[in-house]
Amino acid sequence: MANVLDLRRRIRSVKNTRQITKAMKMVSAAKLRRAQERALAARPYAKMITSVLESLTRRIDIFDPETGNLRHPLFATRPEKRVLLIVVSGDKGFAGAFNANILKTAFQFIGGNPDKQIDIEAVGRKGRDQMRRHYPSAINQEQTDDNGHTVKIRDRKAPVEVTGDHPGMLLKLENSRVFELAQSVISRYVHEEIDAAYIVYNEFKSVIQQRLVVEKLLPLLKIGIPQITGAVEPTEEERERAAEAALSAGILLEPVDTAAADEEAKKFGTAEVDYIYEEPAEELFNGLLPQYVSSMLYHAMTESVAAEHAARMTAMDSATNNASDMIDSLTLLMNRVRQAAITKEIIEIVSGAAALQ
């Protein structure tokens, strides 16, 4: 049986661990709060872009009379043969099953489309590492064409390849970098290198309202309506755990009411007046579309960051609880051992005294 000294040492060590997990939980809670604020601050812009695009589609003649579709390359649907998948995972571990779940969904998506060529853009370090391990990187060969210009030619070797990664993008979420990514996705789509673009990320409305979604970014069908093609809801048990952790860290469970601000933002570009358009409306529309795609990406990333912090907070809350349970049971064991030793000593003294009589 373990002796008292060993047990005491063990308890001290678990207590130290509990201190650390508790601190990590509080840090995550603070970061979650900030991420939620950032997601909230980004709402007006996204809403405004959406509403002005919506109103422009109603006002101007950019529909193709033959097909009834919008006359813009981003609205053109083609049979999906080459697909781009943007995987938004976390940068760090210690977040429970957060990264594993995202990767599982991504692998399911890849596995479910065996006859397509899939390009992967990995955002977040954990996802990148895993994707790199499973799939080769895309190779671009530079060749000189007849006019003496260098052209990059894609040399595809495997059906699934990683075309790019964006380390550190989530660490300091900046719109300019997200916009660059959006532009690269758009240009690939317009040049028909890809036929569709999907994004896998963790949607986060509040601690108890979150799910893993696969969302179709391109082609656009209708402005303002996300095309969710797959979603994984958390289990009831996971949700309860998350709610418990959030309560103990002082995080609001319900999403903040944004109805008034949303209404205000919706008015952008939709007033019942005849606008003077500085540029032809079609040009305006074309200029706004990349911003719209970029704002969808930015939205996905802010939510994913919030979800990552929430997952870490929940995981660390569980770890803290487990440590407390362990300390309790170890303390009980230690007391029992100590009591046993005392009892043994008393018996020895008593029996020694009895032997002397």
Partner: protein, 147 residues
């Protein structure tokens, strides 16, 4: 429109947050086809913004009308909606003059020139390079004016 002060409500919104929201007497905007100034009662207008300065005249927070204050932001690319009593600016990027990173803007300018030289026959590459150059030049101009 019985607005007592004849003031515009100006909002500057970036993808990250709402940067600025209060009353003003006039706003100067860097539209794509040149600067324009908007006063109270302007005709409804939609325009694409280029790179340049948004200048908001008068009406700082708390003291509507009286103030002679002027707030400047460097914005690059975006859209603006003008209504008689309201101006909403959607900018891809907006900075205060003192926030501009001059060495970085200079680097950006060099990069733009390099892209411009390498653009070859591609119209798209030219356009991109021109955008980068315009953005960098606008930033440098704003930063220089401050001193």
């Amino acid at each position: 429109m019985a607005d007592k002060s004849n003031q515009l409500r100006v909002r500057l919104v970036t993808p990250e947050r709402t940067l600025f929201e209060h009353a003003a007497v006039a706003v100067e905007l860097p539209a794509k086809s040149g600067y324009m100034e908007v006063l109270y009662g302007a005709a409804p207008l939609m325009a694409e913004l280029g790179a340049g300065d948004v200048t908001v005249h008068g009406g700082a927070e708390g003291e509507p009308g009286g103030s002679e204050s002027m707030t400047r932001y460097n914005v690059s690319w975006g859209f603006v909606e003008v209504l008689p009593d309201r101006v909403t600016i959607l900018a891809s990027d907006a900075l205060k003059p003192e926030e501009i990173d001059v060495p970085r803007a200079e680097q950006q300018l060099d990069r733009g020139h390099k892209e411009w030289n390498e653009a070859g026959d591609s119209e798209e590459a030219y356009d991109n390079a021109l955008r980068v150059i315009a953005e960098a030049e606008a930033k440098l101009a704003t930063a220089a004016e401050k001193h």
